[in-house]
């Protein structure tokens, strides 16, 4: 069991998403003999170096062949193993998409497909390595649970819960080393149960992955401008926690979704799919990655360029409120 405290959170943050994923999975393997880790020759990149050393029998490198990896994972899962299969987001969610559909979706086999480096954290490696459409693809496959942890502590929570969870899942890791922390103490985590991190009376910001932290930052800036924001960590994108969403939207003047994913098919789409049929619903601003292959750069630079850091999220929300002719003064 990995304890969430300030010190660990700081350490994990330095280590980054992938490293912490590897630590958490290694930790889980100690308690779950039925757990296996598969990698398509990205074991070290997936933070699984230590796992391989400690549990060589529970690890398999399938070679650079993601489609086969998912099929092998399906076969192992069919025979009772809980299999974590990892690769970079596009290689698992798109190259092996149909294997995910057959094995995890159609047959509901107990495989956790883990996308490392999703979003744009791969920076200068370029769009070939970005996960900008993965949620869109994975979310549309029946039977899949889709999870996007907010920070390294939540990656620990997710892995621990996924090691106990029987069923197919897509786990999307965003952020890199120096991943900012949302959580520095233990908390209750349950798939499908969103977490309200901040309550405000004016607007509701629904975020996932790295954008939870940035949304909290944005909320601070907005508060200084007299806009009081609720912030919800929607770590599970499917099934969507509509109860928490309903509560967050009570009396709100606008809903804003923020995600490190294309605005097509991700969290913004999930929320709007839910809200669209409602007679009474707040205006919705969907903040995320644009529908294009952007010029590559370093991660922080790109987040800034694309308007995904706290201050520019606050600015976008402010402009949106003005455009609605709903400026809020304190």
């Amino acid at each position: 069991m990995m304890e969430i405290n300030k010190r660990n959170a700081r350490q994990w943050s330095r280590l980054g998403s992938r490293g912490v994923f590897g630590l958490a999975l290694t930790d889980a393997a100690a308690d779950h003999a039925d757990l296996m880790a598969l990698s398509a020759d990205l074991g070290n990149s997936s933070g699984l170096g230590r796992f391989q050393a400690m549990y060589p029998d529970q690890f398999l490198n399938t070679g650079i062949a993601e489609q086969n990896m998912i099929g092998v994972a399906g076969g192992l899962a069919k025979e009772g193993y809980n299999v974590f299969a990892t690769s970079f987001a596009p290689f698992i969610a798109m190259r092996a998409s149909e294997q995910v559909r057959m094995n995890l979706g159609y047959m509901e086999l107990n495989v956790k497909a883990v996308a490392i480096g999703s979003g744009i954290v791969m920076g200068l490696l370029g769009n070939s390595h970005y996960g900008i459409e993965d949620v869109s693809v994975m979310r549309s496959i029946p039977n899949l649970t889709v999870v996007s942890p907010a920070d390294c502590a939540e990656i620990v929570k997710t892995v621990e819960a996924a090691a106990r969870f029987k069923g197919p899942m897509y786990i999307r890791l965003t952020g890199g080393p120096d991943n900012p922390s949302v959580y520095t103490e233990d908390y209750d985590f349950e798939f499908g149960k969103a977490i309200t991190l901040r309550e405000g009376r004016d607007i509701a910001i629904i975020a996932c992955g790295t954008m939870v932290y940035q949304s909290l930052e944005a909320a601070k800036e907005l508060a200084a401008q007299g806009i009081d924001a609720t912030v919800v960590n929607m770590h599970t994108l499917k099934p969507l926690d509509t109860a928490t969403l309903d509560k967050a939207l009570e009396g709100t003047r606008a809903v804003i979704t923020v995600e490190e994913h294309s605005t097509i098919g991700g969290l913004g789409s999930a929320v709007s799919e839910y809200l669209a049929p409602k007679r009474e619903r707040p205006p919705h601003l969907s903040i995320g990655l644009p529908d294009k292959f952007v010029k590559a750069g370093q991660y922080q630079h790109m987040l800034d360029e694309l308007g995904l850091l706290g201050p520019n999220i606050a600015q976008s929300i402010g402009s949106f409120m003005h455009s609605l002719d709903m400026p809020i003064s304190a």
Binding site: Q67, G71, V72, L76, M107
Partner: protein, 276 residues
């Protein structure tokens, strides 16, 4: 089962294929189903270990129909083996049936996996065989592939890994009928050297006549080199047993009329006046 019992089982299966294809009233993958019959009769009549009263028996051998459109060679084998009932069998292609044009995983009916998207069965087979190895269980895993299916790159991803892992409890059967959906395989992707391909990926390979029951039995019974997965390249005839369907790709996916049904029965030596 002895050889003549297996041959009788194959005859029974062919009759069932023709009956059910006619009775379902819609198109069915006749050609590729008929090419499988003798091999499937050997598997379900002689090779596979299963408990028809308990299809979930943990130590059963695993069979996966990777060429998922070959259900007409599969469901009649499950029927002949007593794993599914005549009542269930009759639901073939009825609305909402468990027995549709591609297998849908249903362990109670002895169906191990859902297939239909080609090139995926061998990967799952590796996972199953690995699980058996890890758990030191003795069951074996059999994957039935089409030769056209071997166009899929994922087949070769799996072939490489199975060779690398030396999965000797894994057997692939390649139904080498030389035809695929759009025509002759050697005009599309020539696979005449498919045996050499598997061998070069680290498999133990035997090539046989896929309609000669003693030869099929010998291939399965033969002790292969240990430490290698086995590939049985079975030369087959698409549409085998129904002369007007044999090697005619019009019967890859087609519908039987009353007239062609009667003609098919005649090929099987059943009087044309037989009740439909």
């Amino acid at each position: 089962m002895n050889i003549s019992e297996i041959e009788n089982m194959a005859s029974f299966m062919r009759r069932k294929i023709i009956d059910i294809s006619y009775e379902c009233g819609v198109t069915a993958h006749l050609g590729g189903g008929l090419s499988m019959v003798d091999i499937m009769a050997v598997l379900y009549g002689h090779i596979l270990r299963f408990d028809k009263k308990d299809p979930r028996w943990e130590d059963r051998d695993r069979f996966i129909l990777s060429k998922g459109h070959g259900v007409l060679g599969y469901y009649p084998a499950l029927l002949a083996a007593g794993i599914i009932s005549e009542e269930v069998f009759k639901t073939f292609k009825a609305n909402g049936s468990d027995l549709i044009a591609h297998p849908v995983m249903n362990l109670d009916l002895g169906i191990e996996s859902s297939n239909g998207s080609l090139g995926q069965g061998l990967s799952m087979g590796i996972g199953i065989a690995l699980a058996a190895r890890r758990k030191t269980r003795m069951f074996k895993t059999y994957i039935y592939l089409g030769d056209g299916e071997c166009n899929e790159g994922s087949v070769w991803e799996a072939a490489m890994l199975a060779g690398q892992l030396k999965l000797s409890s894994l057997t692939a059967i390649i139904d080498h009928n030389g035809l695929q959906s759009d025509g002759e395989s050697n005009q599309i992707i020539d696979n005449s050297n498919i045996a050499e391909r598997f061998a070069s990926f680290g498999w133990d390979v035997v090539s046989i006549d896929g309609h000669n029951v003693p030869e099929i039995v010998a291939a399965f019974d033969q002790r292969f080199q240990t430490g290698k997965p086995k590939a049985i390249i079975a030369r087959t005839v698409k549409g085998k047993g129904i002369s007007f369907m044999e090697n005619d790709n019009a019967w890859h996916h087609n519908r039987l009329t009353r007239k062609t049904y009667d003609e098919a029965l005649e090929c099987l030596g059943v009087p044309a006046t037989a009740e439909g």
